[in-house]
Symmetry: C3
Subunit: 204 residues, 3 copies
């Protein structure tokens, strides 16, 4: 392969994306993989702070949309470069932890629009899903972490459908495969091993 393995991992708040990802990373590392997890939001923040455009995460959404788009693209270039420059040739895998769609006051904002997904050029987009009821239950358990406006099963159902459709539109732009992992209650390890299998299959 001409470039290192890059998997984009997305999921709406409350599906358990971070839990599944961490469990998969642990397994992969124990099997000799070199694994990197790159958080798109962290890269956005770092990039904007270094350009003196914001001082904190909360300020990002107040920036003009056009500027946000430009920084989104620069960050995608940075991430792709970092992934390709990771030392080692075999068994190196990078996960980009991000969103296919972000709910904002002006609507569903694409997290992987054309100008981002083409720069990232991932091998696969992994969509973590869970049942709307489980997503709601997780959100109600941790009110500090989730925004109140998500707390409605109909809205979560809509968000899950919309999220999947955004991810598919992004996958079609770059010919990446799209894998939907259903993270079932109490079966995180099952979801994590699906993710491990994808990596194994992509590595063959």
């Amino acid at each position: 392969m001409s470039s290192k393995l890059l998997l984009v991992i997305v999921g709406i708040p409350g599906v358990g994306k971070t839990t599944v990802l961490n469990a998969a990373v642990e397994i992969l590392v124990s099997r000799g993989y070199v694994v990197r997890v790159l958080n798109y939001g962290d890269y956005m923040l770092k990039s904007l702070i270094s350009r003196n455009l914001v001082r904190s995460r909360d300020e990002i959404r107040r920036l003009p949309l056009q500027l946000q788009r430009e920084v989104q693209a620069l960050v995608a270039d940075d991430i792709r470069r970092e992934v390709d420059e990771t030392p080692g040739n075999e068994k190196v895998v990078s996960f980009v932890d991000t969103h296919a769609v972000i709910k904002t006051t002006t609507g569903y904002w694409p997290g992987l629009p054309k100008h981002v997904i083409e720069r990232l050029s991932p091998d696969a987009i992994i969509v973590i899903e869970a049942s709307p009821e489980e997503v709601l239950s997780r959100q109600l358990k941790d009110r500090s972490r989730y925004r109140a406006d998500y707390a409605d099963v109909n809205l979560i159902t809509e968000l899950l459908q919309v999220n999947r459709c955004f991810a598919i539109a992004s996958a079609v732009l770059v010919g990446a495969s799209l894998y939907i992992i259903h993270n079932r209650e109490g079966r995180v390890l099952e979801a994590a091993s699906e993710l491990v299998n994808i990596v194994n299959n992509l590595m063959r």
Copy 2:
């Protein structure tokens, strides 16, 4: 911002798009906004007539598809230019009233394909939706306006889903946000104020 605010507004026949839009425009104007509503179909017709390609709206769908696509693109350029040349800098908002998808005898025709959406380059795509039952009821009340072939709840449900998916694919191409407004029976003002809020939030 480098260019004027442009919102694309779409919805399948019978969701109440025009009613919601008109109510929102009234509120915005009363709050000091300069509002323009540009109807894509009208611009298409005007452009085709001025090129002597058609004499009436009915003739459009008989034109070769390739020609329709070319005029679609020219019209998008015209609209974007007109929006950007609207006098005034603050509180100017333009709505482009169009369709994400148009039902034709050869299938669902994209109203915002790549060559159109990239030229329009909207800040947001607003999708007006209603329940399939309400859409059907509106269509049955006004047989002169709606085509008979819509009059089936399953077909309307399919059309609503397909419409949303087309709008998402278009949004991903330009990184525009996508806002779904549910226009509930007898609650047009609620839907209209959601639209007003989006404009306010985009203006911040």
Copy 3:
């Protein structure tokens, strides 16, 4: 029209795509059409064998993804050229028999990604669908043809939805119309005549 009529025809395994297509071809030929059916998978295999990259169909999925993508694009160019060079000007119609999405061990792989659909530049994408129960029943009748992992109504429902969404994302890229044909049990001729009607309408 500057180029010959090209219709892409897709559908998940078990919807009866081949049956509907064959029935439509028979009708079209009896009405004086010159019809070509080009199978994308066959073209892929031929192209890979002639480049000494594989010897059999099973080896394709073991090729590096980047290489598969490149051959996918070359094949699309070949097909478009062949279609345009078909002798005769009127009543020539070519069907490209392929998939909007292919289920692989690394996820749903786009069969009509940007680099393919832009090269094919079809007039329409035809999606053949059937109810999940019928798809399952067809798969259970012919275990030799279908992979066991499809045999689950929930999975088939997901695949039908995902397939439609992939096809829409591809249609938006080229402004092709998208026609969904519901192939109902025991009503193949109805589905076939819908397909014949699309051809007639595109020819007008």
